[in-house]
Amino acid sequence: MADKLHFALVSPEAELFSGEVDQVDIPGTEGDLGVLPNHSALMAAIRTGAITVFDGGETTQYFVQGGFADVTPDGLTVLAEKATLMADIDKEALQSDLDAAKARIENLEGEAALIVQQDIDGLSELIAG
């Protein structure tokens, strides 16, 4: 049997997922990355977007807003600021988040603006899709 990856998705409010999976795709700030079992130790910041969990031919998607992915020999832990199951998404709430982000970017520049811009992109993509 092939190795499995231990994956845990936690937000401050709850632990959304914890278990063994085949592969997890996470949206890093520098680009998407796929994590397979026995990945080397990695610490990555996450942008707003979708996490895809592959397990036994099935995929589950979670929507996350900001946070960190921590890969250790024990597995992958995603600490998300906000996380929801893709199926349970409340588009109206997202729209208000998007508006808030758009308002915020007005007074920002440089790196901070880039981060917020990533949020905006992620959110608009999701609302459109």
Partner: protein, 297 residues
């Protein structure tokens, strides 16, 4: 000897009090379940974030340019104590225990010649601490208006503390709150949150050592991650503390109100006994009067 009427009134008033305390107990029990759930759900996140920081602290050891928030700014002159208490009373010794812990810390620090600043969360703690340490209080907020503890509250407090640290207003930050163990036991504890590495060494040292051999790849880079992660850690610690406090407050209130209800019951029993005895004595004395009156004829 109180008259029958007086006794009756007293029994009535104790019964009313009992009704109130019983209602409060039931409300606390219902809230406790929710608060406990919330506290337990937040634990994985805060545990993991502590683990990550422990790992980072481990791998950054020796590197001279670790951020001040992680390893301290090299001084320990000014302490900021964040004391989280409840906004409401009638919950047994809950608030008093936290305040006592805070006072012990303050006394110990002052004895060592340190400057102490207080950041108070919750009305009850302020009432008790402002009597002794009025001048040391730098910030006070009440959560009375908030219906539930959400991460936004912790975020606000966390940002304030982070800003204060960056402005050099304090060197070490300790968070004093009550750890929820179970309904009967809440332990007031003081946890160092700035520098972040200090708080972790006590608890998960073994954990850090286990993973210490692995070298992290950082994306984007170490600094960028730490810059976001460390303030996040502060917010999380505060959030967890508030949730634990809430659960503790409810547990404590439930126990206190349960006791009060039981005491009221005992009191009613005692008063009813006195009432019956008095009534009996009155009847007996009336009978004697009638009989001796009849005999005199």
């Amino acid at each position: 000897m109180p008259s029958l009427k007086e006794l009756k009134n007293r029994i009535g008033s104790v019964k009313n009090t009992q009704k109130i305390t019983r209602a409060m107990q039931m409300v606390a029990a219902a809230k406790l379940r929710k608060a406990q759930e919330a506290a337990e759900k937040s634990r994985p996140y805060s545990d993991r974030i502590s683990n990550i920081i422990a790992n980072l602290a481990q791998s950054m050891q020796g590197g001279g340019d670790a951020p001040a928030m992680l390893t301290g700014n090299g001084k320990d002159e000014t302490y900021l104590l964040v004391v989280a208490t409840a906004d409401r009373g009638l919950c047994g010794g809950f608030n008093t225990n936290i305040v006592r812990k805070a006072r012990e810390e303050i006394v110990a620090l002052k004895k060592a010649g340190k400057t102490v600043k207080l950041y108070l969360i919750g009305k009850k703690g302020k009432e008790q601490l402002s009597r002794l340490y009025e001048d040391d209080i730098v910030e006070y907020i009440s959560l009375k208006e908030e219906k539930t503890i959400h991460s936004g509250i912790a975020l606000g407090i966390g940002q304030k503390i982070t800003a204060m640290f960056e402005a050099g207003e304090f060197d070490v930050c300790k968070l004093i709150f009550s750890e929820f163990e179970n309904v009967m036991t809440q332990n007031p504890i003081a946890k160092t949150i700035i520098p972040a590495a200090a708080g972790i060494e006590e608890g998960s040292d073994a954990d850090a050592a286990e993973n210490g051999g692995s070298f992290y790849t950082y994306e984007p880079d170490e600094e960028g991650i730490l810059r976001v992660l460390l303030p996040r850690n502060i917010n999380t610690q505060i959030f967890t503390a508030l949730l634990e406090n809430q659960a503790g407050e409810m547990g404590s209130k439930m126990t206190a109100m349960d006791n009060a209800t039981r005491n009221a019951g005992d009191m009613i029993d005692k008063l009813t006994l006195t009432f019956n005895r008095t009534r009996q004595a009155q009847i007996t004395s009336e009978l004697i009067e009638i009989i001796s009156g009849a005999e005199a004829l």
